[in-house]
């Protein structure tokens, strides 16, 4: 669906990270964790394509949803300039989100950088009694949404590349240590592809299933233009699937990391 919705508020989380809350009865009622919206950031040909951005949090009662984005280029710069009350052109919810199996008792979300955002709603929606969140950032100043992740998980572990906050090193170090002591029914990944690849390898040794949210440059966002290809297993062969329609979330065993 393409909708013109109203921005409830926009909040600066750190020097280049913004949280935008959008009022949308349709998207808040239909969306699930891991899906995304495709946003027209500027007028006309300014930042020509829409920008696909993961849904971070859904408030079904108040009919709003949140996106969190880093200012990286033209599109996100324009997006950061919106104000409360402004109208915004949104397509969504799009794609396939994370699978939430209510029979699971123990789950973990593992995210790095901007990849942490879609994982918050997994924690919010999952009924499992044990929910671990392992989040990685480059440095302390970039740590965001710590309180929210704390609120919806039973254990929160943070790693920074430079050791300025939490564990010094990568989320995969923390995950390796964690799975030695605890079993998970499912692990959800979102972040840099090397992080996900390493993480999936760690879990494979323990036979723990996982899902990964994949990123790729998109065109239409709905599966028509076929540009956002990613390599997936098809029997003994492989084929290109499309992140916008077949994903962004895939079973880890289906993805071929390059």
């Amino acid at each position: 669906m393409r909708l013109i919705e109203k921005i409830n508020c926009i909040e600066k989380l750190n020097s280049d990270t913004f949280l935008m809350r959008i009022e949308s009865e349709n998207i808040s009622s239909e969306a699930s964790a891991g899906q995304f919206v495709n946003i027209k950031c500027g007028e006309g040909s300014e930042a020509f394509l829409r920008r696909p951005i993961s849904i971070c949090s859904i408030d079904r009662e108040n009919k709003t949803f949140d996106i969190v984005f880093n200012v990286r280029g033209k599109g996100t710069k324009l997006l950061s300039r919106y104000d409360s009350g402004d109208e915004i052109d949104v397509m969504g919810p799009l794609g396939r989100g994370f699978t939430i199996d209510p029979s699971h008792k123990s789950i973990a979300v593992v995210g790095g950088g901007i990849g942490i955002f879609p994982l918050l709603q997994v924690l919010k929606d999952h009924p499992a009694p044990n929910k671990t969140a392992i989040l990685g950032f480059r440095t302390r100043d970039l740590v965001v949404l710590e309180d929210s992740f704390n609120q919806y998980s039973t254990e929160l572990l943070i790693a920074t590349d430079d050791g300025s906050y939490g564990h010094k090193g990568f989320v995969t170090d923390l995950l390796s240590k964690k799975v030695e002591a605890q079993n998970f029914d499912m692990v959800y990944f979102c972040g840099p592809s090397v992080m996900m690849k390493l993480g999936v390898e760690v879990l494979k040794k323990h036979n723990i299933p996982s899902e990964v949210s994949v990123e790729q440059r998109m065109g239409c966002g709905i599966g028509a233009c076929l540009v956002c290809a990613c390599k997936t297993r098809k029997g003994s062969d492989w084929d290109y699937s499309h992140v916008c329609k077949d994903g962004p979330v895939f079973k880890a065993e289906d993805i071929i990391f390059d």
Binding site: M1, R2, K40, S45, A47, F48, L49, R50, M91, Q216, R217, M218, G219, C220, G221, I222, G223, A224, C225, L226, V227, C228, A229, C230, D239, Y240, K245
Partner: protein, 306 residues
Amino acid sequence: MSRKINMAVSFAGINLKNPVIAASGTFGFGREYSQYFDIGRLGGIAVKGLTLLPRKGNPPPRIAETPSGILNSVGLQNPGVHAFIKDEIPFIRKYNTAIIANASGNTVEDYEKITEILSDSDIDAIELNLSCPNVKEGCMSFGSTPQGVKKVVERVKKVAKKPLIVKLTPNVTDIVEIALAAQDAGADAVSLINTLLGMAIDAKTRRPILANITGGLSGPAVKPVALRMVYQVSKAVKIPVIGMGGISNGQDAVEFLLAGATAVMVGTAGFVNPYAWVETIDGIEAYMLENGVDDVNELIGGLITD
């Protein structure tokens, strides 16, 4: 008083209820956009480029945003002509719109064979893709010389039992001689322009953005070039011309009709606005009502140059 206007166009034995066709490669087989609007409102759908066998296409990234447009290098990913006939034609046929099968090949024999297969299927026309810039063999290598075009089109025309549209590349010195070669070889119509070969570089990483290094440029950025080529070709050939390149709304479409196009194709605009196709149809109607034009055919080639 409401006036009745005619939007229907006919050419080369193809009847369209309006001159707006979804451009090949931007619309899949219609399934995705059918969730956004009634695709039966379209004059026609030029489906995703087909080949004899399924093709995986090029590695990603396959798209780069550029000023007022995009570069793509999909590389003809498609399920193959047989899967199209079996799985996709029955779906599109549920809607009242013309089916134009866009066909590609590596060799003249491939083009012949796919044309034979498509001729026996339930489609309304074949659009011969002699212009894809993103594959190594066939396609643009045939389409960039009059001899190449003549060779393929002559052979294909002998086996084609459906109207044959030849899609031309703008990546040539003189598109008019290419269009004339297509006409002389028996093409029933030509469509232009396919994408303009281009590239995008990320200065920070010093790498090309597209994995394929080069790609095809489309979107509003190419419109003036497309308009000029449609104008030049329309003046030179006797067969109908289908115009495309950066059309985003009714006014853009009217410009192409005035330049000599009998029908238009809309593609890239839909990535930004999923209703671009229907808004283009509505926009042409609105233009006609405002300007006292009763029949869309009056606009075709109606450019005033004195």
